[in-house]
Amino acid sequence: MRFVVEFRDGELAEGLITSIRRTSKRKVRFMEFCGGHTVSIFKYGIRQILPPTIEMVSGPGCPVCVTATADIDKAIALALIPGVIVTTFGDMLKVPGSRSSLQKARAGGADVRTVYSTLDALKIATENPDKTVVFVGVGFETTAPTVAASVLQASEQNIRNYMVLSLHKVCPPAIRSILDAGEVKLNGLICPGHVSAITGSNAWEFVACGYGIPCVVSGFEPLDILQCVEMLVNQVEKRESKVEIAYRRGVTPEGNLQALKIMEQVFEPCAAKWRGMGEIPNSGLRLRREFTQYDAEAAFEIKTEPAVEPKGCLCGEVLRGVKTPLDCRLFRKVCTPENPVGPCMVSSEGNCSAYYLYGDNGGR
């Protein structure tokens, strides 16, 4: 398997680790923004092989985890409207809302279907002309272009019973919000790989220039991450702060212009609620006015009760990097992958799920 196995080579890793150990003098804290990175770091035990000078904290980069409870409630309410088929990606089904989940709604008779891509959702729409098919769009810049493309396709093919509940979010404003809050002091940022493949690494210039924090975009294999950490350590020791790419096979400074164009054509920025972080200006994406007919929020009057956060759940603090799952009294005792209390235990990229599955010593 070319381009994968090579990036898991133990000997090459040893070289990188030696170099990191030799170079790293100052005590630093690096955040990996993306949940995909968190999983790789835990899966390969990367925290334990880094020198004690380097502390790693996990960020909010899991789209399922940061979806606000009120938005989950909205998706559930939509599913309960007669004649509506709700389609979404698998992880969303189990995420607890205030009083229910999409999975429970389905067990109660609602038509909720898991799809692997928006193309499947469009297919369901054409096969069920008497129903309205709503795709619950959750995701960052990586997913939003494909959802935008599905709206354009529906428009071209005149599919009138396809709609989107857009809960999409964009990453840079969330990072700005964490840095402005100042709760966690960071000396380096492992920038998301797939998101950067779309946005380009230029999207992080404001972190390096504005906040003086070194930034390196990383891939998801262990060698990618080690190389990224090595580059961050080098910047720190040289007292530099710039944006670099440790994932050249996937990311360019400019990003994927075609995807960005489609995304911009269909969506416009709006304020969005992030679990644990509150409302962040310009961090959400809503359908532009020309595409109102595909906007589930415009088409339906979605009634929900005020959202209730699960008592004792620390997902919010965990997402901001202020606390770890080990600080949560529910972790492993009440909250497990089978009976998740908060979304970070549900999502395969969630922080709590990574701690639960790969070792709760935090990898140390």
């Binding site: 994968v4 890793a13 390969y44 035990g45 092989i49 799809v115 262990p222 089978e338 599955l357 990898g363």
Partner: protein
């Protein structure tokens, strides 16, 4: 138009009688089945093992096998994992109205050849037909009886600190092969399910050593779940090495693409053996001489630390916990 199963085939009348006689009794012919009484009557002396399993795999035909082959292998393997020599199986089918008779024939053919290979006889059976929509084409249940040879004592609770953990071959082949034909995901691959009866492999292992402590086939939940079950049952820790676990390129690639971990993907023709250290090499050699064990490897050992936990040395030399499968990786793969 191609012949199909009708509701009347399950009515107990003439059509049902003909179906049973033509499709099953003649195909699976043996003296005990031919008795045609309400029960098969047989003699057996010694310690017996008894097991049952239902098969609802979707789709019913997949690369490397079909639901019939699976229904024999699964139950034969469950018997083999107790160290038993499988003797007899029961076979019960729940057929959805409208199944092509040609499809049924193909399934029964697979049942026959697999049973022959495993040296088991199907000695009793049942057929029901349900209305369209009440089942998904074909469900099968088999139960099996086997006899445990003198001196064999194999159980999931027998693992001892110092034992070696042997895996009989590559992991994840069955799960990915079935998935590759699943509607909504299908992708093309040369990969075939590893579905196979392991009775003769276990017999070869038992010939060279009686120091086999645990045997288990890592089906649903994959290798990771099986190792966790064994460590919990035996109250020991298990340490394995990622670099030693054989995974085919096709399985590796599909898992990368779909976000699965091969450790959790199902197998239907593999076994994990936990054996006394002094006999490990001998058993490994015997396994490698057998076609279903030719890629066998020692992947780790049993330790007294952290009972109930499985820990893996990663490719980078760090270590991490390997937990049980949580939730559903893939529904209806067996």
């Amino acid at each position: 138009m191609e012949d199909k199963i009708l509701l009347a085939h399950g009515s107990g009348g003439k059509l049902a009688h003909d179906l049973i006689a033509k499709s099953f009794v003649s195909a699976l012919d043996n003296p005990l089945l031919a008795q045609m009484d309400d029960s098969a009557v047989f003699e057996a002396n010694g310690q017996l093992a008894f097991t049952t399993d239902s098969y609802v795999v979707n789709p019913i035909f997949f690369p490397g096998g079909n639901i019939g082959k699976l229904a024999v292998c699964g139950t034969v393997n469950d018997l083999s994992m107790s160290g038993a020599k499988p003797l007899y199986l029961s076979l019960a089918l729940i057929i959805e109205e409208g199944l092509f008779l040609s499809d049924l024939k193909q399934v029964v053919d697979a049942i026959r050849t697999t049973a022959e290979e495993a040296s088991v006889k199907i000695i009793t059976g049942d057929t029901k037909v349900v209305d369209r929509g009440s089942a998904d084409r074909l469900f099968i249940n088999t139960a099996g009886i086997g006899i445990i040879p003198e001196g064999v004592n194999i159980s999931g609770s027998n693992a001892r600190s110092g034992d070696k953990v042997i895996l009989s071959g590559t992991i994840g082949d069955h799960g990915i092969a079935v998935l590759s034909k699943r509607e909504g995901i299908s992708f093309s691959t040369e990969l075939e399910s590893d579905c196979a009866p392991l009775a003769s492999l276990v017999a070869e292992m038992l010939k060279v050593s009686r120091n086999i402590h645990c045997l288990r086939d890592p089906t649903r939940g994959g290798l990771a779940t099986t190792l966790n079950e064994l460590s919990e049952q035996s109250k020991v820790g298990i340490r394995i090495e990622e670099a030693k676990i054989p995974v085919r390129d096709e399985v590796f690639g599909a898992c990368e693409m779909l976000g699965f971990d091969p450790l959790y993907v199902a197998n239907e023709g593999k076994l994990v053996a936990i054996v006394a250290e002094e006999d490990a090499e001998k058993i490994l050699k015997a396994m490698r001489r057998h076609p279903y064990g030719k890629n066998a490897v020692i992947i780790g050992e049993v330790i007294s630390e952290h009972p109930g936990r499985v820990v893996m040395k990663t490719l980078l030399g760090s270590s991490r916990i390997v937990d049980m499968l949580t939730g559903d990786l893939l529904p209806r793969i067996c």
